[in-house]
Symmetry: C2
Subunit: 206 residues, 2 copies
């Protein structure tokens, strides 16, 4: 399934899908590769190449059929059944992310949250139970959770990551400004605001 498709390509496919959903919502039926390209800031050749990899086929005269293409991309990107996600750390950012998340990702579902603060554990957050982080090892496997969103303080992030890995998590979206160390086979995506900021600062002067 994931054979021969690079990380960058997956990221672009996800972008294409978002654009296609907008087009579909506003009634568009067909798109050319260069339409998708300009909307997502890439090249027509790149779009065709990415779509080739997932065998989303278009017609040379009308282009790509929006709904069909959406189906192809979603079939490729999404798991057959919704994936369960754990959220660790219900501070400012964790709660904001949870609120943002809800309703936006039909194929992903935050089913458990964890914190270490007794004021937060044992309650429901957005209708979702919050457990003590020590139960992570136990609860993630039993709930079939393979993905986590990490919004704990930087100093705690590696320790929590180790727990997540032991609990069988294979994909982590990390908001803490640290480089996480994980075994091969575990995917980490760090949303590093500081690095992005410094990078933008640098190139704003270039």
């Amino acid at each position: 399934m994931s054979v021969n498709v690079s990380e960058r390509s997956v990221r672009r496919l996800s972008l294409y899908r978002r654009f296609l959903l907008h087009v579909q919502a506003s009634g568009g039926r067909y798109l050319f590769s260069h339409d998708i390209a300009t909307a997502t800031r890439t090249s027509a050749a790149q779009v065709r190449r990415d779509l080739m990899a997932i065998s989303g086929s278009g017609s040379s005269s009308r282009g790509y059929h929006v709904t069909d293409l959406l189906k192809s991309i979603s079939c490729f990107l999404d798991a057959p059944a919704p994936q369960h996600v754990a959220l660790i750390g219900l501070g400012n950012l964790g709660r904001a992310v949870f609120a943002y998340f809800v309703g936006r990702h039909p194929n992903l579902r935050i089913t458990l949250t964890f914190d270490i603060d007794p004021a937060k554990t044992g309650r429901l957050i957005n209708g979702c139970p919050c457990h003590n982080v020590l139960k992570l090892n136990h609860l993630c496997p039993s709930h079939g959770i393979r993905m986590a969103i990490l919004t704990v303080p930087a100093a705690e992030a590696q320790a929590v990551t180790d727990m997540l890995v032991r609990g069988g998590i294979r994909g982590i979206v990390n908001f803490a400004p640290v480089t996480l160390h994980v075994p091969v086979g575990v995917f980490v995506e760090t949303m590093d605001f500081s690095i992005s900021l410094e990078t933008a600062a640098f190139f704003s002067r270039a």
Copy 2:
């Protein structure tokens, strides 16, 4: 200054710096390229190559002198004087980002904020004035602001971006889940939570 240094290299240099600051704080004095490499999940050759580009030189017996290297990297990455930054959109995320930002980036300073909600404009947020977004065109140039952090709803992001560009902004860190269109010479870094999430979801199954 920025000649011959790729975006990826800048990003890594920023990571190296963060690690070096930790090492410095805990009293470390020298590091080998492979130390930096393992800490930042890259290779020793990559580290040496990146550092070569900014002429941060090390000794073959002791490695790199932490403080000297920090100086070299900071001299390369940072502007001679602190850069001024505007923050647009003081909702949940905007306020969280502002709080996070404070004290963390000595060489960057959020000097103005903007919103469209009359309940927010005209006040001080963290001691920083919040103006109506319509004044953006006028105030950014007069305050020497060349960078912006964008935390407005997705539907507003492009319109606000257009204002920012007209106001002379050259670097944008965008949190809205949209692909922004800007003229060449303007750098956009989109912190795209949805795309990162979907990418992690994909590779957690790979």
